[in-house]
């Protein structure tokens, strides 16, 4: 069985669910959701058994290295969790949707997931563009899905305008890179960039534009302005999907593009590296510092997601070093793998609070430890890991980034990252303290379904286990060296 079948299967399942819903409108949303989840889970189980050989005609634009397989699995996991989150949030979500429908909330993520899986394998800019747009357009719909909520619509419009803007910039960047190097294929671009005859200004201009376009998708400064508004307005499951899935997909493309731009002897290597360092430092700071003044936890998580993008960009800026067996793409993959459980856990907590009729402000967390100690504990673990507390998964990711920066002697970027991390400690622990110390109003105890407890508990356990035993991810860390470097 080839991976390609699997991807097509996921997309087809999405279509099938739509058809079923169309011809049998009285089907319960639980059935739909569980079917979607079952399909995703099946794909996830089958993924490791898929061969990594592919028909020759796909070689030109599709690759199946370890990194691609990892990100495909990643997309499936986050989709599975988002579907679950959607089911959990359904009671309040349906108040804002067309006729209380939710069917598209189960089928669109599947199609998006297929798009992300294709992005993970993209080997040329056309594939990147096509799959990226599939993901983006699906997200336009998903963000605005709660259409009776003005917040969701506003978020939809903002995401739409900025998403379309980034698409424009991306295409323009692709045009210039193509113009400068004469190819759309990453490997060929890398070769052309190593050739001193290639026009440096044109290549640099195109690469910078491409990075700007992708920067929008991964929420890198200075293109991060949309993130807090969109994250706050979008339905919580979609926010989780955006902040984990969309970001990871953006980073896998960035990884591939940078493998080409920063290949050995690249004429634009040093400039792009400097650009990444500056953008990464800025992103980490501009994410962390405003987060200190947020009152809404959802916005706080949005800013935190920005600062995490900053650390990831900094990781990308450090290429392999002799001292480190970990390639920068490995660090990014590892970081994202740890970022997934903690972010999803945070959003799951938010969704559960919302489902219990509570708000999403920090003050709504007051006295959570009394109302539901279990949820408070889970949120504490999630926030502690996001802050990068040792013995949680978040710490190792940050540690690798910092070590990489120190190893290359990027002291300026390192100090920015450390300042951002310090600010991070402040705002995460501020929220944790509110959960434990401030007395809440006398709202009744929160109720959480058993299944949610299991899912959330498992996520928390993953955070803690990965924090002390990251070995399962070792394979990712030692991900294959970029194809170009091997040549």
């Amino acid at each position: 069985m080839s991976v390609f079948t699997l991807e097509a299967g996921i997309a087809l399942l999405g279509l099938a669910l739509l058809m079923v819903e169309a011809f049998k409108p009285d089907i319960s949303r639980r059935t739909l959701g569980l079917t979607a989840m079952a399909g995703t889970a099946l794909a996830l189980v089958l993924l490791p058994f898929c061969g990594t050989t592919q028909p020759g005609f796909m070689e030109a634009w599709h690759q199946l290295d370890t990194l691609a397989m990892f990100y495909k699995g990643f997309a499936l996991v986050i989709t599975l969790l988002v579907l679950w989150l959607t089911l959990e949030c359904a009671p309040y979500l349906t108040r804002f949707t067309l006729d209380g429908r939710l069917a598209e909330m189960f089928s669109l993520p599947l199609i998006t997931c297929a798009g992300m899986m294709w992005m993970a394998s993209a080997r040329d800019l056309v594939t990147v563009f096509v799959s990226l747009e599939l993901v983006t357009v699906s997200f336009y719909v998903l963000v605005a899905f709660a259409r009776k909520s003005a917040f969701s619509l506003e978020a939809g419009v903002k995401y739409l305008i900025l998403g379309a803007l980034s698409t424009g910039i991306l295409v323009y960047g692709i045009a210039w890179i193509y113009g400068a190097t004469g190819s759309m294929n990453f490997a060929a671009i890398g070769e052309a960039l190593a050739d001193p005859a290639t026009s440096k200004p044109a290549a640099l201009f195109g690469a910078a534009l491409l990075l700007c376009g992708l920067g929008f998708k991964v929420a890198a400064a200075p293109f991060h302005m949309w993130v807090p508004d969109v994250y706050q307005g979008a339905p919580t499951p979609v926010t989780a999907f955006l902040s984990v899935g969309s970001k990871a997909a953006g980073f896998v493309v960035l990884t591939r593009a940078l493998d080409a731009f920063l290949a050995e002897g690249s004429i634009i290597g040093s400039e792009i590296q400097a650009l990444l360092l500056v953008a990464g430092s800025l992103t980490a700071l501009l994410g962390s510092l405003p987060a200190m003044f947020q009152t809404s936890v959802k916005r706080l998580l949005a800013y935190s997601s920005i600062s995490h993008a900053g650390y990831l960009l900094l990781a990308l800026a450090c290429r392999e070093s002799a001292r480190f067996d970990i390639s920068s793409s490995g660090i990014v993959a590892f970081y994202l793998a740890t970022y997934l459980p903690m972010t999803v856990l945070g959003f799951l907590g938010l969704g559960l609070m919302r489902a219990n009729g509570l708000g999403e402000d920090i003050k709504d967390f007051a006295g959570l430890s009394k109302r539901n100690p279990f949820l408070a504990l889970l949120m504490t673990i999630s926030f502690a890991s996001l802050a990068g507390l040792p013995l949680t998964a978040g710490f190792l990711g940050k540690l690798f980034v910092f070590l990489g920066l120190a190893d290359h002697g990027y002291w300026g970027a390192l100090s920015c990252a450390v300042i951002a991390a310090a600010a991070g400690f402040y705002y995460y622990f501020k929220t944790i303290l509110v959960m434990y110390t401030v007395e809440g109003s006398d709202t009744p105890a929160l109720t959480i379904s058993m299944a949610s407890k299991v899912v959330a508990g498992a996520l928390a356990a993953i955070i803690l286990v990965l924090g002390v035993y990251p070995k399962p991810l070792q394979k990712v860390l030692a991900a294959d060296k970029p194809a170009i470097a091997a040549k």
């Binding site: 336009y140 009776k148 003005a150 506003e154 379309a164 910039i169 759309m184 807090p228 009152t295 916005r299």
Partner: protein
């Protein structure tokens, strides 16, 4: 003599015009038109490069395929975008960017 540079400059100016409109205009529909202009400008650059990057003595049709895809994607984006804008207009009775200010920290 018209060189590739001429086309690139025209495409660049159109792109910049669109960008300026996106930043300066407040009417969401016009902002959206400006975004379409930017995409088209990018297409012009792509077609220009493809015409002058000969493969076997013919324009490079991989680039023109990308242009075909962009046009299609742009059409889909316009459809979804306008649907969102219409939905927003129904709730707010305005397409002014400044009316989209409920979300703030």
């Amino acid at each position: 003599m018209i060189t590739l540079g001429h086309y690139l400059v025209v495409s660049g100016m159109l792109f910049a015009l669109g960008l300026a409109g996106v930043i300066a205009r407040r009417n969401i529909i016009i902002v959206y038109m400006c975004l379409e202009m930017m995409l088209s400008a990018a297409n012009l650059a792509l077609v220009g490069f493809s015409r002058f990057h000969l493969v076997n003595g013919l324009p490079d049709y991989t680039a023109q395929s990308l242009v075909f895809f962009t046009i299609t994607v742009a059409a889909a984006e316009v459809a979804v975008g306008l649907a969102i804008i219409v939905a927003l207009f129904r709730t707010k009775q305005s397409v002014d960017v400044e009316s989209v200010t409920k979300l703030q920290g």
